[in-house]
Amino acid sequence: MYFLSGFFFLLVGGIEALLIRMQLIVPNNHFMVGDTFNQLLTMHGTTMIFLAAMPMIFGLMNVVVPLQIGARDVAFPFMNALGFWLFLAGGLLLNFSWLFGGAPDAGWTSYPLLALNHFSPGPGIDYYVLGLQIAGLSSLMGAINFLVTIVNMRAPGMTFLRMPLFTWATFVTSALLLFAMPPLTVGLILLMFDRLFGSHFFDVAGGGDPVIWQHLFWIFGHPEVYIVVLPAFGVMSEVIATFSKKRLFGYSSMVFAMVLIGFLGFMVWVHHMFTVGLGPMSNAIFAIATMTIAVPTGIKVFNWLFTMWGGCIRFTTPMLFAVGFIPTFVIGGVTGVMLAVPPADFQYQDTYFVVAHFHYVLIGGTVFGMFAGMYYWWPKMFGKKLNETLGRWHFWLFLIGFHMTFLVQHWLGLWGMPRRVFTYQPGYGLEWGNQLSTAGALLMGISIIFLLVNIAVTARRGEAAGSDPWDGRTLEWAISSPAPEYNFAQLPLVRDVDALWYAKMNGKKGVEPAEPIGSIHMPSPSYLPILMAVGFFIAGFGFVMRAIPAAVLGLIMVFITMFMRSFDHDPGYHIEPEEIEATEKGARA
C-alpha cells in the first residue's frame, strides 16, 4: 500500500514536472505563469521527495526487510499501519491545497522570509508546514520500526555481517531518518508559530534570524538526500549480485562505505549555504567534508563493477536499470563535487546546473533504484513476473528521455539560465536547450505509460512466477510467492552471507530450519490507526484554516485513540501447524 500510494504521488509529481517543462518550451510562454508556476514548482519538489520517493522506499523495505532477515513481521505492526495512514493523511492534506486556498509557493525549501505571512499571505505554506509535519511523523515511526526489527528480530545465525545489503541500507537509512526528522519537525514548528501565532523566530524585525531555518532545514535536508539514495544502493547491490551470479565484491567494504556515507551525510549540510555569508573558514571545512563523501561512493561504484567483472551477467529489466544507474549516478556525483567547491558554487548557485545535478542524483539514484527494485521484487510481492519486453521499452525510453532532459540542463545553467523562473527571453541561445529538455521529459512520461500497461497486462495474464524466479541468493527467495502472512513456516538457520545461495551450493533444496513447526502468533488487525490518522488530519486542516476549535477537536481525537490503544488488550490469534502445512503444500503444488 505504501508502494502504490507512493507510485500514485510519483505520477502526480510527474504531471507537475511535465507542466513545468511545457511552460518552458518557448520563450515568453503564457501557459502557466507567476503564482501558478511557483506552486507547481514547489509542489513538484515536495511531492517527489516526501510523497513519492520516501513511501516507495518504505514500501519496498516493508516487503523485503522481514523476508531478508528471516523474520515473521516487523517489530511494531500497529505502528506500521499508523505510519502508513499518517503519511496518506499528510500527503492528502498537502494536495488539498490545490483545491482550497492555493498550493504552497515558496519552493520546496520554503525559506523565510519568503515563507512568512508578509510574502505568502495565503494558506499555501500552512498546508506545507502541517502536511509535512504529519507525514514526517510517519517517517519517524517507520525508522524506529525498522531499526528495532533489524536489531531484535534477525533469524538465528544472521549476524550483522551476514545481512543482505538492502537490509543494511534500510538500517543506515533508518538511523539517518531517526536523527534527521527532528530538525525538520522543529523547523516546521517554528515556522508554524511564526505564521499562526506571531512569534519572531525568522522575522528580522522582531529580532529573529532566517538563517536558523536554513540550518534546521539542511541539517534535515542533506541527510534526506542519502535517505532516499542509500536504499537504491541497497537494491543495486542485490540486483547486480543476483544477475551476475557472483557474491557481491567487497561485501564488508560495501557495508563500511554505507555507514560512512550515512555519517558524513550529517556533517555537510552547510554546503547548501555557501553563499549565505558564514565566512571562508566554515565554507572551506564543509567543502572538504562534502568532497570526502566521494570516497565511499567511489568504493561502492567500483565494487559493483568488480561484481559484474567476470560474472555470468543476465540483462533482465532490473539489471538494465541497475547498469543504467551506474554511469548516470556517477555523472551526478561528479557535478556534486564541482558544486562542493565554494568559489565555483558562487557561479553555479541557483542556475539550471544545480537542477541538472540533483536530478541526476535523485533520478539516476533513487528512481532507477526503485524501478530496479520494483521489477526485481514484483514476483515476490504479487507472484507474477512483469513482462520483460514492455520492461525493456520502459527502460530505454526512460533512460534516453532522462538524459535528453537533464544533460542539456548543465549547459543551460552554465549559459546563465536561473532556476525557479517561469520564463526566459529569446535571443540568448536558451531556446533549443529548453525544447530538447521538454521533449525528453515527454519521452519519460511516455515510458511511464509502458510501465502502467505492463502492470495491467501482468495482472491480467501474467503467469505464476514460482518462489525463486531469478535464481536468487537471499532468504526472501526461499519461501513461496507471494509470501504467506506468517512469512516463514519455520525460522531459517543462516550460515553465511547469501544464505539461500549457500544452501543451493551445498546441494540442499532450501535453507535449513532453525526450529520445529509450531503455532505462530499473529497480531489482530485494528481500525485504530485510521482513526488516529483522521484525527491528525482534522487537526492539521483546522490549523490551516485557522479554525482552532476544529484543530483542538482533532488533537483530542488523537489522544482518545491513543488511550483506547493503550487499553486495547490485543491477544492476537494463532495459526496452528496443520493450517501452516496446508498452506505450504498449496503453495508448492
Binding site: 531484535n152 536523527f179 523566530f201 529580532g207 534570524d209
Partner: protein, 207 residues
Amino acid sequence: MSDHNQLSMAPEMPHHTETSTLEGKNKILGFWFFLGAETVLFACLFGTFLALRHSTMGGPTSEELFSLPMVAAATLILLTSSLTSVLGILGMHRENLKSMLFWFGVTVLLGLAFLGLEIYEFIEYVHEGHTFTRSAFGSSFYTLVGTHGSHVLFGVTWITTLIYQGWKKGITKETAPKFYVASLYWHFIDVVWVFIFTVVYLLGMIS
C-alpha cells in the same frame, strides 16, 4: 541494558517481567530510539534559543527576569520525582503492585507541582512584559521551556492512565514494559531539565 541483565541474575530477582517477551524487548528498544530522536529535537530548540537569547528588542532581559530560588525549587522537585519513579520500578521488580503504584503516584504529584510552579513563573514573566510575541528571545524561551513543560504534562497524563491500568490489570507481561518505558521517558525529561536549568537559567543570570 547489560547491567540489568546482570542484576537479574541475583537470586532475589529471578526475572524482569518487562523483558520477558519479544514485544516487551521491542518496545523498550524502540523507545530508546525514540528518545534519541527527542534528544535531537531538544538540541535544535536549544540551538535556536542560544542564537536568539540576546534578541530582546528592548524587552526585559534574562538577568532582569530569572530568580534562582524558584527555579532551584522546581529543579529539586523534578529530580526527586525521578527518584520516586525509580522506586516505582524497583517495586515492579519485587512484584509489589502496591509499592509500584504508590511511587508512580508520588511521581505524578511531583510532576504536577513542577507544572504549577512553571505556570506561576510564566504568569509572572508575562506581567513583566516578557511574552511569546514580544521578541525573538521571548519566542525561543517559551518554545524551549514550554516544549519541556508540555512533555511533563504529557508524562503526567500518561503515567496517570498507566496507574489506572496497572490497578486494573496488575503487573503482567503486558503492563510491565509500559511502566518501564514511562519511567525511561520521565528520566529523559529530567535530564532535559538539567540542561535547561544550566543553559537557560544559570547562563541567563550571569551574562
